[in-house]
């Protein structure tokens, strides 16, 4: 048979996600965090862990984990029973014994409760008998000027432009508009720019996080759109990323559903239209 016709599932941005990683099962991590509240992870098996914030009782969660290179992991879980949906995402860097933690929450903005907040903290992995590293993962502008095309699944590509420390811009092949014309409500926006952060993990590896905040403010709830917080662990030596999306989706009937999924894509250099690159960010003065 022609396996082009293989009855595969319908994928959105999950198809080219690399397989989940179970490397960390049986391991225990103590993260010394810069904001003064340390965290501990006890990876029980390939899908369950216990986490605790210093001074609190351990809580058990379902987690998932992907690798960006042999020693760098992105691990995510949603906190069960939280009053407002909360996600914890860690970049665990075993090579440098460093960690970046991203705490996300829905409902912090009373006017736009679907916007997912992002709180970053940096720290080091404590290992008995070893010194505690003083270096940290850090916010970085090194990636500014990067244009890249991400291949998510058959016939679906996005093109990103990373141009300032707090925004990024997106389009799809053959379109030069700054509006994100995926056929939905987001095309009503004056531009595709969204809030973002860039964190250097190591040479040629970055954690890129975006929040679909302008989209939520301007068109949220219309045209089947609700917003997400997306965290991409990007490896520019390999030209791929692995990551996760945390937020809300909307069905055609207007009902919403929680999104908490892994994703991944393969990249390639791309030349983007100068008009796309130079268009002023319509959301900033």
């Amino acid at each position: 048979m022609n396996l082009k016709d293989y009855p595969r599932k319908e994928y959105n941005i999950q198809q080219l996600t690399q397989p989940p990683c179970f490397d960390l099962q049986g391991e225990r991590f103590y993260f010394v965090m810069d904001d003064g509240y340390d965290y501990e992870l006890n990876i029980l098996d390939h899908e369950n862990l216990e986490w605790s914030k210093e001074g609190s009782a351990p809580k058990r969660e379902f987690y998932r984990c992907l690798k960006s290179d042999d020693t760098t992991y992105i691990l995510h879980y949603e906190v069960k029973g939280a009053e407002q949906r909360t996600g914890h995402t860690y970049v665990i860097d075993r090579e440098q014994r460093l960690v970046t933690m991203l705490r996300c929450k829905l409902g912090e903005n009373p006017k736009f409760p679907m916007i997912v907040s992002s709180h970053f903290d940096f720290g080091a992995i404590q290992v008995e008998g070893e010194y505690l590293p003083f270096k940290r993962h850090c916010y970085s502008n090194e990636i500014m000027g990067t244009t890249v095309q991400w291949h998510w699944r058959s016939n679906f590509f996005t093109q990103h432009y990373y141009y300032t420390s707090d925004h990024y811009r997106i389009t799809v092949p053959s379109r030069i508009s700054t509006a994100m014309e995926f056929g939905g409500a987001t095309s009503k926006k004056p531009g595709s720019d969204e809030w973002s952060r860039y964190i250097k993990i190591k040479e040629n590896m970055f954690l890129f996080v975006l929040v679909e905040a302008y989209s939520e403010r301007l068109v949220g709830g219309a045209g089947n759109f609700r917003s997400n917080n997306m965290a991409f662990l990007q490896n520019y030596d390999r030209m791929y990323h692995v990551g996760r999306s945390f937020g809300t989706g909307m069905r055609p009937d207007g009902s919403s559903f929680p999104i908490n999924m892994l994703f991944g894509a393969f990249g390639q250099p791309v030349e983007l239209d100068p008009a796309f690159l130079s268009y002023p960010n319509p959301f900033t003065v």
Binding site: M1, N2, L3, K4, Y6, R8, K9, Q15, L16, T17, Q18, P19, P20, C21, F22, D23, H46, K67, S68, D69, D70, T72, E142, I143, M144, G145, T146, T147, V148, H151, R153, S154, N204, F206, Y236, D237, R238, M239, Y240, F266, G267, Q268, P269, V270
Partner: protein, 229 residues
Amino acid sequence: MNLSNDSAKYGVGQYRFAHNYDLKDKRFTIAADGKKYGLTFNGKQELTFDAGDKPLTIGYECLKIDKQVYFVRFGMRVAALDTENGLATLVLPEGYVFGVIEGSQAAPDKRHTFSEEMVGTAVRWVFGVGRFTDRIYFEEARCRASFSPKEEAFAFYRTKAVKIKEGMFLVDVEGQVPEFICVPPGSDRILVLEDYEHMLFAGCITGKAGTIMVGGYGDFHDYDEALFK
């Protein structure tokens, strides 16, 4: 600085997934045709293979293609382990071995098998930026293949395909590749797990220049009908 780049650093190995260490400190006994093969993973880099004579301790590389399916290369040998279904295929110098992992829930008579299910498929597997192979599986024992940047130059290669599970095959393509293409000169065997559900692949290329682990994604293109004949 624009960090996007071609495959300068890793070449044809650019899109290879991170090494997988799920199997570290695990032991498998594979039973096949009245014989037993032991695979003991002594940590992240070394395993001991015991085929009943002199055990061999050797370095290994493991790539994961699915939640519980692994491509393990140790020397010139390969194991495709499906720990979900309890089945294993060993590719050894003396040939293919289809076995069952002892202690698994696999039905006693179930095995991976050679398959012609892929015949009729044309696919492009992408190793890295601008580096890919086009494959046309037009009959069970041979395929037509080409390699970038000479993607028009199809040649015949000996082919074996083993069905690992629905939509997943271990594909073994043998034959001397031409010069000045994306894979190392002197390469004569490409052995990969192809996953047609996720359109991912993982495996290795071997030849005179040694062995390189590869991975990446697949896509479908339109090809001349004549290439299927």
